[in-house]
Amino acid sequence: MNESNTAVATREIMYREALNEALKEEMRRNPNVFVMGEGIAERGGSYKVTVDLLEEFGHKRVIDTPISENGFTGTGVGAALTGMRPVVEILFIDFSLLVLDQIINQAAKFKFMSGGTARVPMVLRTQGGVGNGLAAQHSQSLEMLFYHIPGLRVVMPSDAYDAKGLLKSAIRCDDPVIFLEHKLLYMNKTDVPEEEYTIPLGQAKVKKEGKDLTIIAWSGMVPKALEAAHILASQGIDAEVVDPRTLVPLDKETILNSVRKTEHVLIVQEAVRRGGVASDISSIIQEQAFDYLDAPVKILGGLNIPCPFNLNLEELIIPQVDDIVKAAKEVVYKG
């Protein structure tokens, strides 16, 4: 089955259920796939992504770990190097700061350093983003730390459909994949086919077509961008919303095609503005579609500050629907 096939039976399921299905299907398909992380077995994970896996696959393949993120991530790397396909869960992307040696110095480098003889087919699943008053150490969006590192793939699905298809591809990928979920998306529902499907890494998706401006957004910003596009439509601005879905490899073609059509670009990013992935996408558009641009590429990003605990202030620091609407108008009216 591929994505363009639309006449299939579907049902609405949650993002977390879609992830759970992907794990189950891949674990059934390949006995070398296993999952490990804190509280993922009996408890089914903090966001319930791994529920019921223990019953079907047993303790050998559904492993609760001690609080030793660096150690168990490295364990995943070693298992992958020797033929397994581990899916390692880190509870919060903030804690991934404890495992970057294993991811960046080890997993990302082995294929290269070995002259191509070693592969690390491992998935690191974690979640980030602002929400629910979790404060500065549990609310970061750190995709840039992985995006910048050669040897890693970076996937950030924004809905259940993408989440399932991409996680299945991530598990089948022969290189390390950083699979970044968003804490506010787990309960969101989308139509997901009954039938098995995968989504290749590296294909963006136009989530709404439009001709006046291109809004590029990923992960938690996609639902907001779509809502903003809806409001903009009611005000006579026809925005196209492009979701890269995979940040590495990045589907530059789909992005550039949209830009060439609309000639106006807004990139919306939950991560702090300074040095985010949006900057890199902006630099690419600017280098490769300069002559099409009617106005500067605008970036709407998070404020350059940590996340406050207070809920009303928390709201302030990342782009909200109204901010997107406002920024989009600025881009369109400037051009």
């Binding site: 770990t65 001690p66 404060a135 500065a136 605990f309």
Partner: protein, 320 residues
């Protein structure tokens, strides 16, 4: 065991009782929607923070954990500012920007709770190192959880303090569970004090629910730290009174353990010490009453308190 004055025993009990009821009120406020985010209650473990902190000097340092309310209160934190922080209010210790997992009072040497398990340990070692460079005879207590004793930050910190002979007391609060994972599943050696020995650190395992046992152990180590004989490690065995987090009913906790610790409650043990020392039931009730009144006032203060305005906030973060 030494004989202690009623005053001293009362002060220990008062602290424990304050922590217990702070958490109970906090949970209520959480359920009412006044508190959001993570809330890890310290109840059931009150004797540890209380016993250790009461053995230290006011100008010493502590670092705490994700389950940090008890350490702050035992270190003398103000109830008003504690509740205000939990409610995200401007009068809180961190102006409402930190919340439960980041409460701290740097002005008093409380270097804060920490949302990252184990990360407080190297910070504590650094406080001790700084004091030793300055030639000050301060002692640092660093609280860490059983789960935290498996992470590199803690283990490296332990070795550093040992290598440099720093005045640090490592206090492992072994409540036998990390969320739902029992300690047997997370290490090959559940007697956690032994890993201190592996690094050449004098280490003991004690009943963490017996406030006097904690106090006496800590006091001896604090005194020896001050003489330059540190570091030391205390494994204080205890148990959570409920789930990991306010929203976790803790159904996985084995019934026998729950029942045992129900009886072996730090407050019950503390009250028994008081009774043995001659405090009457009325006197105890009076003492309890006083704490409850303070808590009521503080809850009221926090609920009515202002939040930082958007303008104040944007002002505060200028220059980032």
């Amino acid at each position: 065991m030494k004989k202690y004055s009623i005053d001293f025993l009362s002060s220990l009990y008062t602290t424990m009782y304050k922590i217990r009821n702070f958490e109970e009120q906090g949970i209520k406020l959480y359920r009412q929607g006044h508190i959001r985010g993570y809330f890890h209650p310290y109840w059931g473990e009150e004797a540890i923070a209380t016993g250790v902190c009461s053995a230290m000097n006011p100008d010493d340092y502590i670092t705490s954990t994700h389950r940090g309310h008890g350490h702050c209160l035992a270190w003398g934190a103000d109830l008003n500012r504690m509740f205000a922080e939990l409610l995200g209010k401007k009068a809180g210790y961190c102006k409402g920007l930190g919340g439960s997992m980041h409460i701290a009072d740097y002005s008093k040497g409380n270097l804060g709770a920490n949302g990252i398990v184990g990360s407080g340990t190297p910070i504590a070692v650094g406080a001790a190192l700084g004091a030793s460079i300055r030639g000050e005879k301060k002692v640092v207590a660093t609280f860490v959880s059983d789960g935290g004793s498996n992470i590199g930050s803690f283990l490296e910190g332990l070795n550093l303090a040992a290598a440099w002979k720093l005045p640090v007391i490592f206090v492992i609060e072994n409540n036998q569970y990390a969320v739902s994972t029992p300690i047997e599943d997370s290490t090959g050696e559940t007697q956690l004090y032994k890993r201190g020995i592996g690094f050449g650190v004098e280490s003991v395992r004690i009943d963490g629910n017996d406030v006097l046992q904690v106090y006496e152990t800590a006091k001896a180590f604090v005194d020896r730290c001050r003489k330059g004989e540190g570091p030391f490690l205390i494994e204080a065995v205890t148990f959570r009174k409920s789930g990991h987090h306010v929203n976790d009913p803790g159904l996985y906790l084995p019934k026998e353990k729950v029942e045992y610790y129900e009886k072996h409650d730090p407050l019950k043990i503390g009250a028994e010490y008081l009774r043995n020392a001659g405090l009457s039931d009325e006197q105890l009730a009076e003492l309890q009453d006083k704490v409850m009144k303070e808590i009521k006032v503080a809850v009221d203060f926090a609920v009515k308190g202002e939040e930082m305005s958007k303008e104040e906030f944007l002002n505060f973060v200028e220059g980032y």
